[in-house]
Amino acid sequence: MTTNIKYALERRRYVLMGAVIAIAFVFIARLFFLQVIDHEYKAWADSNAFLKKTLYPSRGMIYDRNDKLLVYNQPAYDVMLIMSEIQAFDTLDFCRTVGIARQQFDQRIAEIKDRRLNPGYSAYVPQRFMNQLSAQDYGILQEKLYKFPGFYIQNRTIREYEYPNAALVLGNIGQVNKQDIADDSYYVQGDDSGRSGVEHSYESVLRGQKGVEILLRDARGRIQGKYENGKYDLAPVSGKNLTLALDIELQSFGEQLMSNKVGSIVMIEPATGEILCLVSAPTYDPSILVGRQRGRNHAMLEADPLKPLFDRSVMGTYPPGSTFKAAMGLTLLSEGVITTETHYSCAGGYPPGGGKPKCHGHASPLSIIPALATSCNSFFCWGLREMLDNRRRYPTVQERLDRWRDLMRDMGFGRKLGLDLPNEKSGQIPNSRMYDRMHKGRWASSSVISLAIGQGEVLTTPVQLCNLAATIANRGFFYTPHIVQSIEGEAPDSAYVARNYTSINRDYYDIVSQGMRGAVTGGTCRGVALPYVDVCGKTGTAQTPFGKDNSIFIGFAPEKDTQVAIAVVVEHGGFGATVAVPIARLMLEKYFKGEIAPEHKYHEQYYTNLVILPRNVI
């Protein structure tokens, strides 16, 4: 080997060493990129290795105003299975134990394995096989569980109800849907949330805060233990308990009286706006919407033509009939259309309308107080005519009607009151645009005269009617009606402690109150009179497009320092005095005395058993 070649070959070590250094450089650059620059890998690592197990909090319990427990939680048992751990077992025995057929078993297994139906499926992760096993089945299964490897029982809680009443107020809970998940990132598929009633409107309070347990999971989905010994785990926070303003005794008594009738009873404490009872009939036992039969029962209730899921107390809109005259009287007084001295004549009907609306026999002419007591149609028609057709105040009928509408809205009509219950309806108070459309701009009091007696385009909900009674009792203000008295550990909601003043003078309320007292002492609703308390009231008999008139009553008692306001609506009950008044009387007796006196038991029996249902239903 010549020196020259030898030298050339020795130089080749630089190529080799250069290659080593170049590769080392490439590796370090690559590591720098992976570990320091690119943060994506860190996030991947987290989602890879951590199993975040949700710890469900217990839902808040619900009490009534007398601290009677209404809603609480009961353990329920879900049957879980881990596919990879299943070994041969006696399928028939298993099916018999949990009470399903063999086909159902096979179908359920197929559903679990179907990734289209169950995208999160893994053979190593527990899958829900069956929901909410009954305590009895649970007991049997627990004993035999050793025979069924791969099957587990997971505890969860379901709602349990102490009373079969107040279903619509309390509401129910069900699984969240896609929309709920999209709206609130708190929820994941399979979570429960309140679907209606208080359960829905106080969902965020009742549900508490889910906790999380961070577990380490290996590549095959097996749990390897807690991450950092649970340092980053989050304990669940239990939901807060609610105390309702509702008096469950009153509520169940109201529901009893309203059985086999359609309608509503609302009672409000005027001094606080607290709703003492909120009956909507027909109703149902809340416990049927719990557990595995929920779906079937819900479908059944939905199919019922009487719509038991429809909360008539806040969603039912009725023409108020003569009960509206209390509000009309206030408006007329406030606008200066009438004074206590203003007398209108009644000739068994409203003369400008050709005797319509008709009226009934009473002294004539008469002033506001006896007009309320006797529920004179003509008086309020004259008044409305004077208000709408008199150009002194406002130049056009439109402005005059809108003034009337504004006063009505002040009293809580034609708008949502802002109850703490979902799906409250606003009812309807017509405005000038509505009549402009209907009458092409040319109209006067004669076109809308039925408004004076609470018919026509006026629609109110029972809770709005009760609120009117409460406002009169308070002589000019109301607290927004609310069903929840207090939330455990929270200050009262400011929306429910503020007084809402109407724009009507207190003195006019005294006048209307006197009229309503007169109706009880010597007018249309003598039937509601109680010997131990001065009841004020106003009946209503509202025409309906079909069937008998709706029987309506509003009232409050006592006249001074009122404790309770009430509204009763019985669909197709006929005259206000025939059904709504005696039911209101029984409710008031229950409220003031706690029980029905023996001499009135007959009434209780009679009205409980009275059936007033649409003919096509019976």
């Binding site: 080997m1 070649i5 070959l9 020795e10 080749r12 070590r13 190529v15 080799l16 060493m17 290659a19 080593v20 250094i21 590769i23 080392a24 490439v26 590796f27 370090i28 690559r30 590591l31 720098f32 992976l34 570990q35 320091v36 690119d38 994506e40 890998y41 860190k42 991947w44 690592a45 987290d46 890879n48 290795a49 951590f50 380490l216 999971r217 290996d218 590549a219 095959r220 390897q224 233990g225 991450y227």
Partner: protein, 481 residues
């Protein structure tokens, strides 16, 4: 005798030994991290991996002591004998080894199991050193090439028959040594190019950017640039280099600019540049009357031809299951969870380490067995995850220094045997380092080979220890004389 013993210790290259100890220790801690389990048996219990590795490390020290006590001439004298014995063992292994995950490379001796393929590495190095250091040997004649190739190929064939293609591939490291000893650089270049082109074109065959197939585009561009570089090396001419580099860069920059307005296939540019380069080479060879330029042209055409034949053969000639097999070998399709699961998990593990790592035993990815083979082939993941960039880069640097150190020492050797053996040693370490870490960081195909001194397992640890310390013993002898 006593004086000689002392001199061995005095003459040892302690830099290499310190690096060795550092790597073995770091390797043991990585194995602790990788095999840490909840309720594990403890690190010093021999039934667990850290405990077992500790025993093997201890036995390595015994081996080191034995090697250092032997006379330096022992290895030269017994080189062929050792080689023959190992080949025999490899052949026996083919027939007696049980099937473990498709591989028949493990020999059971009682409860111990060894992988003879690992030990073949230093045996081949010894045999090559012995044969090539013989007086009058020239790596020039066909006969000497054939014998050298036979020495390398015999264990490769045995190991392939044991279905350990990855291990067999490592024997190509000896070509770095052959290059140093006089083999034409074009062989090395051609071989490396062919492998690179093959992997690139297959790995990126389905990746299309706009209208451009990335694999084809990359290979053609590399071929063209390499051709220019080789042409320059034949007869350096700075002006011509600048012009050709300028034209190439200009063409691509223009192409990128145009592609903002009109999408087109960049392969056209690569082909245009290759035609220009071919014309340029023909011009050079005619002008200078030098045939070497035509050889360079041939290299370019062969490379392009190779590229298209790879695609053609792969797509048209091979059966689908053969295609899959090759893709599996290349790590393109290697696991039931979809292409690249292993590498992805490995990248996630390393990437999640960040700059300083999660700390010893705190790695969630490796601890939870997301990374397959995490204590053996993918051990570097654990380093990356638990010790972060700082630790991983340190390991890379330590390997680099060790390899460079061995190259430097090899060049210092006065006798050819020690020099050749040294080059074999350095090259083997280099190729393992290159392929293993490249695989773990997702740069090279997934080939199941261990990372020297790190990967769990007695066979590879002992084999690399023997490989290194025979060289250190030879190096010590250099100073003795």
């Amino acid at each position: 005798m006593l004086s000689k013993k002392t001199s061995v210790w005095n003459n040892l290259d302690w830099i290499s030994i310190l690096l060795y100890l550092l790597l073995v220790t770091a390797g043991w801690f990585s194995i602790c991290g990788a095999s840490f389990e909840f309720d594990s048996v403890g690190w010093f219990n021999p039934s667990g991996r850290p405990g077992a590795q500790l025993i093997w490390i201890g036995l390595s020290f015994v081996l080191i002591f034995v090697i250092l006590m032997l006379d330096a001439n022992f290895f030269s004298v017994f080189a062929y004998f050792i080689y023959a014995a190992i080949i025999l063992l490899l052949i026996i292994t083919i027939f007696v080894a049980p099937d473990i995950k498709g591989s028949r490379s493990w020999l059971f001796i009682g409860t111990m199991r060894v992988q003879p393929a690992e030990f073949a590495k230093f045996a081949v190095a010894l045999a090559l050193a012995k044969y090539m250091s013989a007086y009058g040997f020239r790596l020039k004649y066909l006969k000497s090439y054939l014998i050298v190739l036979a020495i390398i190929a015999t264990p490769i064939i045995c190991i392939i028959m044991q279905r350990e293609a990855g291990s067999a591939l490592m024997f190509l490291a000896f070509f770095f040594m052959l290059y140093r000893e006089g083999m034409s650089g074009y062989v090395l270049l051609g071989g490396i190019s062919a492998m690179t082109f093959f992997v690139l074109s297959l790995k990126y065959s389905d990746v299309i950017f706009g209208f451009t197939p990335i694999g084809e585009m990359l290979v053609l561009a590399i071929v063209q640039i390499m051709t220019l570089a080789i042409a320059y090396s034949v007869k350096p001419n700075a002006i011509q280099l600048k012009i050709s580099a300028g034209v190439t860069a200009g063409a691509y920059i223009l192409g990128i600019a145009v592609s903002f307005f009109v999408q087109f296939n960049f392969v056209w540019i690569a082909w245009g540049l290759m035609l220009l380069t071919a014309g340029y080479l023909v011009y050079l060879s005619l002008k200078n009357w030098v045939t070497q330029y035509l050889l360079v042209l041939l290299f370019m055409l062969l490379s392009a031809g190779f590229l298209y034949s790879v695609d053609y053969v792969f797509d048209k000639v091979l059966e689908p299951h053969h295609q899959t097999r090759i893709k599996v070998v290349l790590g393109l399709e290697d696991d039931p969870r979809g292409v690249g699961y292993n590498v992805n998990q490995s990248k996630i593990a390393i990437g999640s380490g960040g700059f300083l790592g999660k700390g010893f035993l705190n790695g969630t990815q490796t601890k939870l067995k997301y990374v397959p083979e995490q204590a053996t082939d993918f051990i570097f993941c654990t380093v990356g995850e638990e010790e972060g960039f700082a630790g991983a880069a340190l390991v890379v640097i330590a390997f680099t220094i060790l390899i460079i150190r061995i190259y430097i020492l090899a060049e210092k050797q006065k006798n050819a045997f020690a020099r050749i053996y040294g080059h074999c040693t350095a090259s083997l370490f280099f190729v393992h380092f290159l392929v293993n870490i490249g695989m773990v960081v997702g740069l090279t195909p997934v080939i199941g080979i261990p990372l020297p001194f790190f990967s769990y397992g007695g066979s590879s640890l002992w084999a690399f220890t023997i490989l290194l310390f025979i060289f250190l013993r030879l190096d010590a002898a250099r100073k003795e004389r």
